[in-house]
Chain length 204, copies 2
Protein backbone atom coordinates (compact mmCIF):
# COMPACT_ATOMS: atom_id res chain seq x y z
CA UNK A 1 0.00 0.00 0.00
CA UNK A 2 2.77 2.51 0.75
CA UNK A 3 3.83 2.36 -2.87
CA UNK A 4 6.00 5.27 -3.93
CA UNK A 5 4.28 7.26 -6.66
CA UNK A 6 5.46 10.87 -6.61
CA UNK A 7 3.13 11.96 -9.44
CA UNK A 8 0.07 10.60 -7.70
CA UNK A 9 1.22 12.16 -4.43
CA UNK A 10 1.56 15.52 -6.15
CA UNK A 11 -1.90 15.28 -7.77
CA UNK A 12 -3.27 14.41 -4.32
CA UNK A 13 -1.50 17.43 -2.82
CA UNK A 14 -2.98 19.77 -5.45
CA UNK A 15 -6.45 18.31 -5.10
CA UNK A 16 -6.38 18.56 -1.30
CA UNK A 17 -5.04 22.12 -1.49
CA UNK A 18 -8.05 23.09 -3.64
CA UNK A 19 -10.34 21.27 -1.24
CA UNK A 20 -8.77 23.07 1.72
CA UNK A 21 -9.43 26.44 0.03
CA UNK A 22 -13.09 25.55 -0.47
CA UNK A 23 -13.51 24.18 3.07
CA UNK A 24 -11.72 27.18 4.62
CA UNK A 25 -13.95 29.59 2.69
CA UNK A 26 -17.07 27.81 3.95
CA UNK A 27 -15.76 27.90 7.53
CA UNK A 28 -15.00 31.62 7.20
CA UNK A 29 -18.60 32.28 6.15
CA UNK A 30 -20.15 30.17 8.95
CA UNK A 31 -19.39 32.36 11.95
CA UNK A 32 -22.74 32.61 13.66
CA UNK A 33 -22.89 30.92 17.06
CA UNK A 34 -26.25 30.09 18.60
CA UNK A 35 -28.34 27.20 19.78
CA UNK A 36 -29.53 25.00 16.95
CA UNK A 37 -32.58 22.82 16.52
CA UNK A 38 -31.71 19.44 15.01
CA UNK A 39 -34.25 16.93 13.78
CA UNK A 40 -33.23 13.33 13.08
CA UNK A 41 -35.97 11.47 11.27
CA UNK A 42 -36.54 8.71 8.68
CA UNK A 43 -36.85 4.93 8.95
CA UNK A 44 -33.15 4.01 9.13
CA UNK A 45 -31.21 2.98 12.22
CA UNK A 46 -29.27 5.73 14.00
CA UNK A 47 -31.65 8.51 15.07
CA UNK A 48 -31.72 8.01 18.84
CA UNK A 49 -28.14 6.78 18.98
CA UNK A 50 -27.03 9.96 17.20
CA UNK A 51 -28.83 12.04 19.82
CA UNK A 52 -27.09 10.08 22.58
CA UNK A 53 -23.75 10.54 20.82
CA UNK A 54 -24.24 14.32 20.87
CA UNK A 55 -25.11 14.04 24.55
CA UNK A 56 -21.77 12.25 25.12
CA UNK A 57 -19.93 14.93 23.12
CA UNK A 58 -21.52 17.71 25.15
CA UNK A 59 -20.52 15.97 28.39
CA UNK A 60 -16.97 15.77 27.04
CA UNK A 61 -16.97 19.56 26.85
CA UNK A 62 -18.16 19.82 30.45
CA UNK A 63 -21.65 20.94 29.43
CA UNK A 64 -24.88 20.11 31.24
CA UNK A 65 -27.62 18.28 29.38
CA UNK A 66 -31.22 17.18 29.66
CA UNK A 67 -32.74 14.03 28.17
CA UNK A 68 -36.43 13.21 27.86
CA UNK A 69 -37.39 9.87 26.33
CA UNK A 70 -40.90 9.84 24.92
CA UNK A 71 -42.78 6.60 24.14
CA UNK A 72 -40.00 4.20 25.14
CA UNK A 73 -39.64 3.34 28.75
CA UNK A 74 -41.08 -0.05 29.69
CA UNK A 75 -37.75 -1.85 29.42
CA UNK A 76 -34.44 -0.56 30.68
CA UNK A 77 -31.92 0.55 28.10
CA UNK A 78 -28.17 0.90 27.91
CA UNK A 79 -28.44 4.62 27.30
CA UNK A 80 -30.51 5.10 30.43
CA UNK A 81 -28.19 3.09 32.71
CA UNK A 82 -25.21 4.89 31.22
CA UNK A 83 -26.35 8.51 31.33
CA UNK A 84 -27.89 8.12 34.78
CA UNK A 85 -24.34 7.59 36.04
CA UNK A 86 -23.81 11.37 35.77
CA UNK A 87 -26.58 12.88 37.88
CA UNK A 88 -24.76 16.22 38.30
CA UNK A 89 -24.46 16.78 34.57
CA UNK A 90 -27.45 14.92 33.14
CA UNK A 91 -31.12 15.34 33.95
CA UNK A 92 -32.79 12.20 32.64
CA UNK A 93 -36.51 11.61 32.34
CA UNK A 94 -38.18 8.55 30.85
CA UNK A 95 -41.84 8.68 30.03
CA UNK A 96 -43.42 5.87 32.00
CA UNK A 97 -44.86 3.58 29.33
CA UNK A 98 -43.83 1.20 26.63
CA UNK A 99 -44.33 1.79 22.95
CA UNK A 100 -47.85 2.92 22.32
CA UNK A 101 -48.89 -0.32 20.64
CA UNK A 102 -48.01 -2.07 23.89
CA UNK A 103 -50.38 0.04 25.96
CA UNK A 104 -53.22 0.57 23.44
CA UNK A 105 -54.54 3.19 25.81
CA UNK A 106 -54.74 6.60 24.16
CA UNK A 107 -55.87 8.57 27.22
CA UNK A 108 -53.09 7.16 29.35
CA UNK A 109 -50.47 7.68 26.61
CA UNK A 110 -51.58 11.32 26.21
CA UNK A 111 -51.39 12.04 29.91
CA UNK A 112 -47.89 10.58 30.08
CA UNK A 113 -46.73 12.42 26.95
CA UNK A 114 -47.97 15.69 28.41
CA UNK A 115 -46.21 15.03 31.71
CA UNK A 116 -43.01 14.31 29.78
CA UNK A 117 -43.48 17.52 27.80
CA UNK A 118 -43.74 19.48 31.04
CA UNK A 119 -40.28 18.14 31.98
CA UNK A 120 -38.97 19.12 28.54
CA UNK A 121 -40.30 22.66 28.95
CA UNK A 122 -38.61 22.94 32.34
CA UNK A 123 -35.28 21.92 30.77
CA UNK A 124 -35.85 24.40 27.93
CA UNK A 125 -36.29 27.23 30.42
CA UNK A 126 -32.95 26.58 32.12
CA UNK A 127 -30.05 28.43 30.43
CA UNK A 128 -27.57 26.21 32.30
CA UNK A 129 -28.72 23.25 30.20
CA UNK A 130 -26.65 23.37 27.00
CA UNK A 131 -28.38 20.57 25.12
CA UNK A 132 -31.83 19.01 25.41
CA UNK A 133 -32.47 15.67 23.75
CA UNK A 134 -36.14 14.93 23.07
CA UNK A 135 -35.90 11.29 22.07
CA UNK A 136 -38.81 9.89 20.02
CA UNK A 137 -40.76 13.11 20.36
CA UNK A 138 -41.82 12.72 16.72
CA UNK A 139 -43.78 9.58 17.60
CA UNK A 140 -45.73 11.44 20.28
CA UNK A 141 -46.45 14.20 17.74
CA UNK A 142 -47.46 11.69 15.08
CA UNK A 143 -50.09 10.14 17.37
CA UNK A 144 -51.36 13.59 18.30
CA UNK A 145 -50.45 13.19 21.98
CA UNK A 146 -49.06 16.74 22.03
CA UNK A 147 -50.11 19.89 20.22
CA UNK A 148 -47.56 20.70 17.52
CA UNK A 149 -48.03 24.49 17.63
CA UNK A 150 -47.43 24.55 21.39
CA UNK A 151 -44.40 22.25 21.08
CA UNK A 152 -42.85 24.52 18.45
CA UNK A 153 -43.60 27.65 20.47
CA UNK A 154 -42.00 26.13 23.58
CA UNK A 155 -38.89 25.12 21.62
CA UNK A 156 -38.56 28.56 20.09
CA UNK A 157 -38.83 30.23 23.50
CA UNK A 158 -35.71 28.42 24.79
CA UNK A 159 -32.48 30.23 25.79
CA UNK A 160 -30.64 31.44 22.63
CA UNK A 161 -27.52 29.31 23.17
CA UNK A 162 -29.36 26.07 23.94
CA UNK A 163 -29.34 23.19 21.45
CA UNK A 164 -32.35 20.92 21.02
CA UNK A 165 -32.16 17.53 19.33
CA UNK A 166 -35.39 15.78 18.34
CA UNK A 167 -35.55 12.19 17.10
CA UNK A 168 -38.15 9.81 15.72
CA UNK A 169 -39.76 8.71 12.48
CA UNK A 170 -42.25 10.88 10.66
CA UNK A 171 -41.23 14.35 11.87
CA UNK A 172 -44.04 16.79 11.01
CA UNK A 173 -43.35 19.28 8.21
CA UNK A 174 -43.87 22.32 10.44
CA UNK A 175 -41.10 21.07 12.72
CA UNK A 176 -38.72 20.56 9.79
CA UNK A 177 -39.44 24.10 8.68
CA UNK A 178 -38.28 25.66 11.95
CA UNK A 179 -35.28 23.29 12.35
CA UNK A 180 -31.69 24.35 11.57
CA UNK A 181 -30.40 20.88 10.73
CA UNK A 182 -32.47 17.97 9.46
CA UNK A 183 -31.21 14.49 8.65
CA UNK A 184 -33.43 11.94 6.96
CA UNK A 185 -32.05 8.53 7.87
CA UNK A 186 -32.80 6.17 5.03
CA UNK A 187 -32.91 2.44 5.68
CA UNK A 188 -30.79 0.75 3.04
CA UNK A 189 -30.63 -2.51 5.02
CA UNK A 190 -31.57 -3.59 8.51
CA UNK A 191 -30.32 -6.70 10.31
CA UNK A 192 -33.74 -7.10 11.98
CA UNK A 193 -35.33 -7.73 8.59
CA UNK A 194 -32.78 -10.49 8.01
CA UNK A 195 -33.92 -12.27 11.18
CA UNK A 196 -31.42 -10.81 13.63
CA UNK A 197 -32.70 -9.82 17.07
CA UNK A 198 -32.44 -6.31 18.48
CA UNK A 199 -29.21 -6.47 20.45
CA UNK A 200 -27.66 -4.83 23.51
CA UNK A 201 -25.47 -1.85 22.72
CA UNK A 202 -26.88 -1.58 19.21
CA UNK A 203 -30.65 -1.16 19.43
CA UNK A 204 -31.07 -0.54 23.16
CA UNK B 1 -55.56 17.94 24.67
CA UNK B 2 -56.97 15.35 27.08
CA UNK B 3 -60.35 15.66 25.38
CA UNK B 4 -62.62 12.74 26.08
CA UNK B 5 -63.49 10.95 22.85
CA UNK B 6 -64.34 7.32 23.58
CA UNK B 7 -64.85 6.42 19.90
CA UNK B 8 -61.44 7.76 18.92
CA UNK B 9 -59.88 5.99 21.90
CA UNK B 10 -61.44 2.72 20.79
CA UNK B 11 -60.25 3.14 17.17
CA UNK B 12 -56.79 3.85 18.57
CA UNK B 13 -56.95 0.71 20.71
CA UNK B 14 -57.94 -1.44 17.72
CA UNK B 15 -55.26 0.07 15.51
CA UNK B 16 -52.56 -0.40 18.14
CA UNK B 17 -53.68 -3.96 18.78
CA UNK B 18 -53.24 -4.74 15.07
CA UNK B 19 -49.86 -3.00 15.14
CA UNK B 20 -48.82 -5.00 18.20
CA UNK B 21 -49.67 -8.25 16.38
CA UNK B 22 -47.52 -7.25 13.41
CA UNK B 23 -44.62 -6.08 15.59
CA UNK B 24 -44.78 -9.19 17.79
CA UNK B 25 -44.73 -11.43 14.72
CA UNK B 26 -41.63 -9.65 13.39
CA UNK B 27 -39.92 -9.98 16.77
CA UNK B 28 -40.76 -13.69 16.90
CA UNK B 29 -39.09 -14.20 13.51
CA UNK B 30 -35.95 -12.23 14.40
CA UNK B 31 -34.33 -14.60 16.86
CA UNK B 32 -30.79 -14.85 15.58
CA UNK B 33 -28.18 -13.33 17.88
CA UNK B 34 -24.75 -12.51 16.53
CA UNK B 35 -22.38 -9.64 15.97
CA UNK B 36 -23.59 -7.27 13.28
CA UNK B 37 -21.76 -4.99 10.89
CA UNK B 38 -23.39 -1.55 10.69
CA UNK B 39 -22.48 1.08 8.14
CA UNK B 40 -23.61 4.69 8.61
CA UNK B 41 -23.02 6.72 5.47
CA UNK B 42 -24.44 9.63 3.44
CA UNK B 43 -23.93 13.40 3.63
CA UNK B 44 -26.28 14.20 6.49
CA UNK B 45 -25.35 15.02 10.07
CA UNK B 46 -25.43 12.13 12.54
CA UNK B 47 -23.11 9.35 11.38
CA UNK B 48 -20.29 9.63 13.93
CA UNK B 49 -22.61 10.76 16.71
CA UNK B 50 -24.74 7.66 16.12
CA UNK B 51 -21.64 5.49 16.47
CA UNK B 52 -20.77 7.24 19.74
CA UNK B 53 -24.35 6.80 20.96
CA UNK B 54 -24.08 3.03 20.41
CA UNK B 55 -20.78 3.12 22.31
CA UNK B 56 -22.60 4.80 25.22
CA UNK B 57 -25.38 2.20 25.06
CA UNK B 58 -22.88 -0.66 25.12
CA UNK B 59 -21.16 0.87 28.17
CA UNK B 60 -24.56 1.07 29.85
CA UNK B 61 -24.80 -2.72 29.51
CA UNK B 62 -21.36 -3.15 31.08
CA UNK B 63 -19.75 -4.13 27.77
CA UNK B 64 -16.21 -3.31 26.69
CA UNK B 65 -15.65 -1.32 23.53
CA UNK B 66 -12.95 -0.14 21.15
CA UNK B 67 -12.93 3.11 19.20
CA UNK B 68 -10.61 4.05 16.34
CA UNK B 69 -10.99 7.49 14.79
CA UNK B 70 -9.63 7.68 11.27
CA UNK B 71 -8.86 10.99 9.55
CA UNK B 72 -9.96 13.26 12.38
CA UNK B 73 -7.53 13.88 15.18
CA UNK B 74 -5.77 17.25 14.92
CA UNK B 75 -8.20 18.97 17.26
CA UNK B 76 -9.57 17.56 20.48
CA UNK B 77 -13.20 16.55 20.51
CA UNK B 78 -15.92 16.13 23.11
CA UNK B 79 -16.26 12.45 22.27
CA UNK B 80 -12.56 11.84 22.88
CA UNK B 81 -12.45 13.66 26.24
CA UNK B 82 -15.60 11.89 27.28
CA UNK B 83 -14.85 8.29 26.34
CA UNK B 84 -11.27 8.51 27.58
CA UNK B 85 -12.77 8.88 31.07
CA UNK B 86 -13.41 5.11 31.05
CA UNK B 87 -10.00 3.54 30.37
CA UNK B 88 -11.01 0.15 31.80
CA UNK B 89 -13.98 -0.21 29.47
CA UNK B 90 -12.94 1.81 26.41
CA UNK B 91 -9.85 1.44 24.26
CA UNK B 92 -9.59 4.70 22.32
CA UNK B 93 -7.25 5.39 19.44
CA UNK B 94 -7.13 8.56 17.37
CA UNK B 95 -5.22 8.59 14.13
CA UNK B 96 -2.66 11.33 14.49
CA UNK B 97 -3.56 13.79 11.74
CA UNK B 98 -6.19 16.31 10.78
CA UNK B 99 -8.55 15.92 7.88
CA UNK B 100 -6.63 14.91 4.80
CA UNK B 101 -7.06 18.28 3.08
CA UNK B 102 -5.25 19.80 6.03
CA UNK B 103 -2.17 17.63 5.60
CA UNK B 104 -2.09 17.32 1.80
CA UNK B 105 0.50 14.60 2.31
CA UNK B 106 -0.65 11.30 0.82
CA UNK B 107 2.30 9.18 1.98
CA UNK B 108 2.00 10.41 5.54
CA UNK B 109 -1.81 9.98 5.55
CA UNK B 110 -1.42 6.41 4.26
CA UNK B 111 1.13 5.46 6.88
CA UNK B 112 -1.11 6.82 9.62
CA UNK B 113 -4.23 5.13 8.25
CA UNK B 114 -2.39 1.83 8.16
CA UNK B 115 -1.15 2.24 11.72
CA UNK B 116 -4.75 3.00 12.78
CA UNK B 117 -5.96 -0.09 10.92
CA UNK B 118 -3.44 -2.22 12.83
CA UNK B 119 -5.10 -1.01 16.06
CA UNK B 120 -8.54 -1.83 14.61
CA UNK B 121 -7.40 -5.36 13.74
CA UNK B 122 -6.09 -5.87 17.26
CA UNK B 123 -9.50 -4.85 18.67
CA UNK B 124 -11.24 -7.14 16.18
CA UNK B 125 -9.17 -10.10 17.41
CA UNK B 126 -10.22 -9.63 21.02
CA UNK B 127 -13.46 -11.45 21.89
CA UNK B 128 -13.73 -9.40 25.11
CA UNK B 129 -14.42 -6.31 23.00
CA UNK B 130 -18.18 -6.30 22.33
CA UNK B 131 -18.30 -3.35 19.94
CA UNK B 132 -15.69 -1.72 17.71
CA UNK B 133 -16.39 1.73 16.30
CA UNK B 134 -14.36 2.58 13.20
CA UNK B 135 -15.15 6.27 12.90
CA UNK B 136 -14.64 7.86 9.46
CA UNK B 137 -13.15 4.68 8.08
CA UNK B 138 -15.06 5.30 4.84
CA UNK B 139 -13.00 8.43 4.20
CA UNK B 140 -9.75 6.47 4.50
CA UNK B 141 -11.19 3.89 2.08
CA UNK B 142 -12.38 6.56 -0.34
CA UNK B 143 -8.88 8.03 -0.61
CA UNK B 144 -7.41 4.56 -1.08
CA UNK B 145 -5.35 4.74 2.11
CA UNK B 146 -6.33 1.16 2.95
CA UNK B 147 -7.04 -1.86 0.78
CA UNK B 148 -10.76 -2.57 0.76
CA UNK B 149 -10.44 -6.35 0.28
CA UNK B 150 -8.12 -6.64 3.27
CA UNK B 151 -10.35 -4.40 5.39
CA UNK B 152 -13.39 -6.56 4.62
CA UNK B 153 -11.47 -9.78 5.26
CA UNK B 154 -10.26 -8.48 8.64
CA UNK B 155 -13.80 -7.43 9.62
CA UNK B 156 -15.23 -10.79 8.63
CA UNK B 157 -12.58 -12.63 10.66
CA UNK B 158 -13.72 -10.98 13.93
CA UNK B 159 -15.25 -12.92 16.85
CA UNK B 160 -18.83 -13.99 15.97
CA UNK B 161 -20.52 -11.98 18.74
CA UNK B 162 -18.62 -8.74 18.11
CA UNK B 163 -20.40 -5.73 16.59
CA UNK B 164 -18.59 -3.37 14.23
CA UNK B 165 -19.88 0.11 13.41
CA UNK B 166 -18.35 2.00 10.48
CA UNK B 167 -19.05 5.65 9.72
CA UNK B 168 -18.22 8.17 7.01
CA UNK B 169 -19.47 9.48 3.70
CA UNK B 170 -19.12 7.49 0.51
CA UNK B 171 -19.04 3.93 1.87
CA UNK B 172 -17.81 1.63 -0.89
CA UNK B 173 -20.39 -0.73 -2.45
CA UNK B 174 -18.49 -3.88 -1.48
CA UNK B 175 -18.68 -2.83 2.17
CA UNK B 176 -22.44 -2.20 1.94
CA UNK B 177 -22.84 -5.68 0.45
CA UNK B 178 -21.29 -7.42 3.45
CA UNK B 179 -22.98 -5.16 6.04
CA UNK B 180 -26.03 -6.27 8.06
CA UNK B 181 -27.44 -2.80 8.64
CA UNK B 182 -26.87 0.24 6.43
CA UNK B 183 -28.24 3.73 6.98
CA UNK B 184 -27.90 6.44 4.36
CA UNK B 185 -28.09 9.75 6.19
CA UNK B 186 -29.58 12.27 3.83
CA UNK B 187 -28.94 15.97 4.42
CA UNK B 188 -32.29 17.74 4.26
CA UNK B 189 -30.88 20.90 5.91
CA UNK B 190 -27.64 21.79 7.66
CA UNK B 191 -27.11 24.76 9.98
CA UNK B 192 -23.53 25.14 8.66
CA UNK B 193 -24.90 26.02 5.21
CA UNK B 194 -27.01 28.74 6.81
CA UNK B 195 -23.88 30.36 8.24
CA UNK B 196 -23.84 28.70 11.66
CA UNK B 197 -20.47 27.55 13.01
CA UNK B 198 -19.69 23.97 13.96
CA UNK B 199 -20.47 23.93 17.68
CA UNK B 200 -19.33 22.09 20.81
CA UNK B 201 -21.47 19.11 21.68
CA UNK B 202 -23.09 19.06 18.27
CA UNK B 203 -20.37 18.71 15.64
CA UNK B 204 -17.37 17.90 17.84
Amino acid sequence: MSEQDPERDERHRQRMLRKKTVVDEKIAVAQQERGVLLVLTGNGKGKSSSGFGMAARALGHGLRIGIVQFIKGAKSTGEESFFRRFPDEVRYHVMGAGFTWETQDRQDDMAKAQAAWAVAVELMRDPDVALVLLDELNIALKYGYLQLEQVIADIQARPPAQHVVITGRGAPTALLEVADTVTEMGMVKHAFKAGIKAQKGIEF
